[in-house]
Amino acid sequence: MTLVALCRRHFSADFITNMSEFDFRQAQVALGFHIMWSAAKAVNFAHGDTLMLGAVLAVMGVDAGLPLSVACILAVVAGGVFGILLERFAVRPFATSATSIGWMLTTIAVGVMSEALATLQFGGFSRPLASPGVNNAVHILGAGVYPQELVIPVFAVLVMIGLKLMQRHTLIGRAMKAVAHDKRAAALMGINVNRIVAFSFGLASLLGAAAGVLVAPVIQVSATMGTLLGLKGFAVAIIGGITSAPGVVIVGLGFGIMEKFVEGYISTAAREIIGFGVMILVLLVFPQGLFGKREVLKV
């Protein structure tokens, strides 16, 4: 690419508007991974698909004639139920085995199946969800932004703060920390470990579906949008250090900004190369992620 072309691309009005559309969905997905990991030491590998489910169900609900708000709420609730069922039937049977192959593959399998089902029901094409949040653009520093676009990063930060508060001040939050630390000891203290783990999966999926509903108006909703999103979310979670909620959110937001720049200056393919390349490099230098805690080996 010549310099002139690069400059033209950089300064085109179109590009500047695009700059505001940072993709912050990974932050939300990564936060979901964090929630599941911090209770279960296992995750739904296809967590990206819960975002997809939320978005697709909301669009389908509106199609079916439901009011927007009802369709959205139903989609979010369905996401939460999906998470609980997934934990019960795909993760729990394999939670005790020494290797992680079991739950990794079963959740991938469920992801593949839900994507296939969604494609069958929703069709192979993509469309947005009609929403009041995209009717009028707000101007910030000269760039046009739909209110809806600001919702996701704000939502991610709010969830993170809420999560921190919950872990500090509520019984269930502390129970989650205890279970994450040592399942057997937590069980001996009278904590219902299975219920806590199920709760964490339900919560992660509920929030995932909610994020899906929130982005549905600004992106093109499709049945296949989940896979790459989920993988990127996991990458973000690992870079941030999967044990740290703030770390995950900070990296997620930063990742979204970096992606947009790379995409704008080079190409979409380069975006993926650099994004995942960064992940591998971070793992090399900081095996526990940027903000994660080191785990002590006990003999």
């Binding site: 795909a90 049977p93 394999f94 020494a98 290797t99 992680s100 192959i101 079991g102 990794m104 593959l105 079963t106 991938i108 399998a109 469920v110 992801g111 593949v112 199946m113 994507e115 296939a116 089902l117 494609t119 069958l120 896979t227 790459l228 993988l231 996991f234 990458a235 690992i238 190409s267 393919a269 380069a270 993926e272 190369i273 995942f276 390349g277 992940m279 591998i280 793992l283 090399l284 095996p287 080996l297 003999v299």
Partner: protein, 598 residues
């Protein structure tokens, strides 16, 4: 069971010869050739999944890497199929090392995620680097397969693929049944125990990943020649999942399982095509079904059924074994085996677990380390066996400084240990556990293992006979073929001792060997420890059981609050007021005051 594997190879060869003769049209043969290529990937991936228990979800990326490398050197430089495959094997092997080395140290899930990332990177580099890869349109006009400039006919190309799969299967089988396969399995079951035996988990996992990478690379080149066209969209994440499914469906860890898995998953899409959109769903459902109904895969499940039906393999004859007295005894000139620890200090955050602790185990003696709970005994043991790093102080064995060395290096220098909570390789047989302990004494290398050279066979036989002798030494001969995890606790303890002895240590460190044993078992243990000491092996015994210590120990060191409070012969220690205070809390005089106060 002995003839099952050779029979399997014979049947496999017969099938490979029969198929081209029976194929009714070119399409059928082509599909079978595609299966052969997938088979190569699956067989290689099996080393990683089946032996080390790690998961790669980026095999499609390595497959693509090999495919592009092969295609590019073939079209640009004019390499033939053999040279192209070698180039592809080298390139994907290098990437395998680069990917595996940093990640396998951390945790299994990470390797999966890094490999996924790698797969996506390769896919996108293929799109982006247009001048080399042709971008999204891909590479066309890949030359027809040829060897040394001679063009191969369809059947000849088939021959190349069939021979390649057969040879790779055989080589992987040889690897599996050598020290490499045994230690890979050991590492997957207890990394800690493996390190304590001088086995290098990082090296083995990297090796397994490289095997999986190289085979995927070779398969990629074959694929490029078969298709004569490649593009980025052939190599996606779902292909990686499919390759992994091949291994698990067929039976991870089995020799022929991955081939069966590859066969099913090559032909299944052909039948599923009529269902169109449901095809993907069915594929996910199959994965789920395998995980629940056949977690050991087809061959793994069959093998279990067979085991139940047939009488167990006879235990190896005791006479086959080499007596422990000859295999363990060291030359009298070299017997010294003196462990000297000099003011070791270990801190965990603000807590000082060990404070300037010094200890000397003289060559050939039985030295006991005692102390109340929390005195720092375990910290001491874990420090001198290299699992914890000392903040201050040094320790050495026979004058060789050990401070700062890795646990596996310390093990190789002659310090073997057992664990408080037994750390056996649960799914290996009792005999294999001991053979894994022998590993550092084997000197044959990779090539010997792949080709089963006379040197490899000789050393393996020696290893096996020594292990049989050691099982007799600890009285486990009749359990040789049992899986270690099914042994009762007392026998697991003994097995751990036999396994530690297999490395022919200078010093044996027994970490609370009597804990949880019955009185009779403790008597047997006492007698066994004496026999070990009689072989000239120094013993450091960490124990609570006072009778055992008094009966066995030449010298006793007492730890309390991380400090050595006494070190002397058992008789002296028994009457040492500080020791009594450490164990019973207060000296008699203090006790009287306390009573008076009440």
């Amino acid at each position: 069971m002995k003839y099952l594997i050779p029979a399997g190879f014979a049947v496999f060869a017969a099938i490979l010869i029969a198929v081209p003769l029976l194929a009714s049209n070119e399409y059928e043969l082509r599909l079978f050739m595609l299966f052969l290529i997938y088979g190569v990937i699956a067989v290689g991936l099996n080393v990683l999944v089946g032996l080390t228990g790690l998961v790669s979800l980026g095999q499609a990326g390595l497959f693509a890497l090999g495919s592009y490398t092969g295609a590019i050197v073939a079209t640009r430089i004019g390499f033939d199929i053999i040279a192209s495959s070698i180039a592809a094997a080298i390139v994907s092997g290098i990437f395998g090392v680069l990917l595996a080395f940093p990640t396998v140290r951390v945790r299994g899930v990470y390797l999966a995620v890094v490999t996924i990332a790698f797969g996506i990177i390769v896919e996108n580099v293929a799109i982006e680097w247009q001048s080399l890869t042709g971008g999204t349109t891909g590479l066309t006009s890949i030359p027809r397969p040829n060897v040394f400039g001679v063009r191969l006919s369809g059947f000849a190309f088939y021959g190349v693929l069939a021979v390649a799969l057969f040879v790779i299967t055989l080589l992987v089988h040889n690897l599996k049944t050598s020290r490499y396969g045994r230690t890979m399995l050991a590492v997957s079951q207890s990394e800690t125990a493996a390190r304590a035996l001088g086995i290098n988990p990082t090296a083995l996992r990297t090796l397994a990943f490289v095997v999986a990478s190289v085979t995927a690379g070779i398969a990629g080149t074959f694929y490029a020649f078969l298709n004569s066209y490649i593009s980025p969209d052939i190599f996606t994440f779902s292909d990686s999942v499919r390759f992994l499914l091949m291994v698990i469906l067929g039976g991870a860890g089995s020799t022929f399982g991955p081939i069966i898995g590859a066969y099913i998953l090559t032909y299944m899409p052909e039948y599923l095509q009529q269902f169109q959109l449901w095809q993907k769903f069915a594929y996910g459902a199959l994965l789920l079904l395998v995980m629940f109904a056949l977690p050991r895969g087809i061959l793994g499940t069959l093998h279990q059924m067979l085991k139940r039906l047939r009488p167990a393999d006879p235990v190896p004859d005791v006479s086959e074994g080499l007596p422990a007295a000859t295999t363990l005894r060291r030359d009298h000139n070299e017997v010294a085996a003196e462990l000297v620890a000099n003011s070791l200090t270990v801190r965990f955050g603000g807590l000082t677990a060990l404070s300037k602790a010094s200890l000397r185990v003289k060559g050939g003696e039985i030295h006991a380390l005692i102390g109340p709970n929390g005195a720092g005994k375990s910290t001491f043991v874990n420090t001198i066996s290299g699992f914890y790093q000392a903040d201050e102080g040094q320790f050495e064995l026979d004058g060789i400084p050990l401070t700062g060395r890795r646990s596996l290096d310390i093990a190789r220098l002659g310090l073997a240990r057992t664990f408080q909570n037994t750390e056996l390789f649960g799914e290996l047989s009792v005999l294999e556990n001991v053979m894994a302990g022998y590993d550092q004494r084997l000197s044959y290398r990779m090539l010997d293992a792949l080709l089963r050279t006379p040197r490899m066979r000789r050393e393996e036989l020696e290893c096996r006979r020594t292990a049989i002798g050691l099982l007799e030494f600890v009285g486990l001969s009749k359990y040789a073929n049992e899986e270690a995890r099914f042994l009762p606790f007392g026998l697991q303890r003994r097995l751990e001792i036999a396994r530690a002895l297999a490395s022919r240590p200078k010093l044996l460190l027994l970490d609370e060997p009597a804990a949880g044993l019955t009185t009779q078992e403790i008597d047997e243990l006492e007698e066994m420890v004496r026999r070990i000491a009689a072989l000239g092996i120094s013993i450091l015994l960490i124990e609570h059981h006072v009778d055992l210590i008094m009966a066995l120990a030449d010298n006793v060191t007492v730890l309390d609050y991380g400090q050595v409070i006494a070190s002397d012969s058992p008789a002296v220690i028994q009457n040492d007021p500080r020791v009594i205070e450490a164990y019973f809390g207060t000296s008699p005089i203090h006790g009287e005051i306390a009573e008076a106060g009440v």
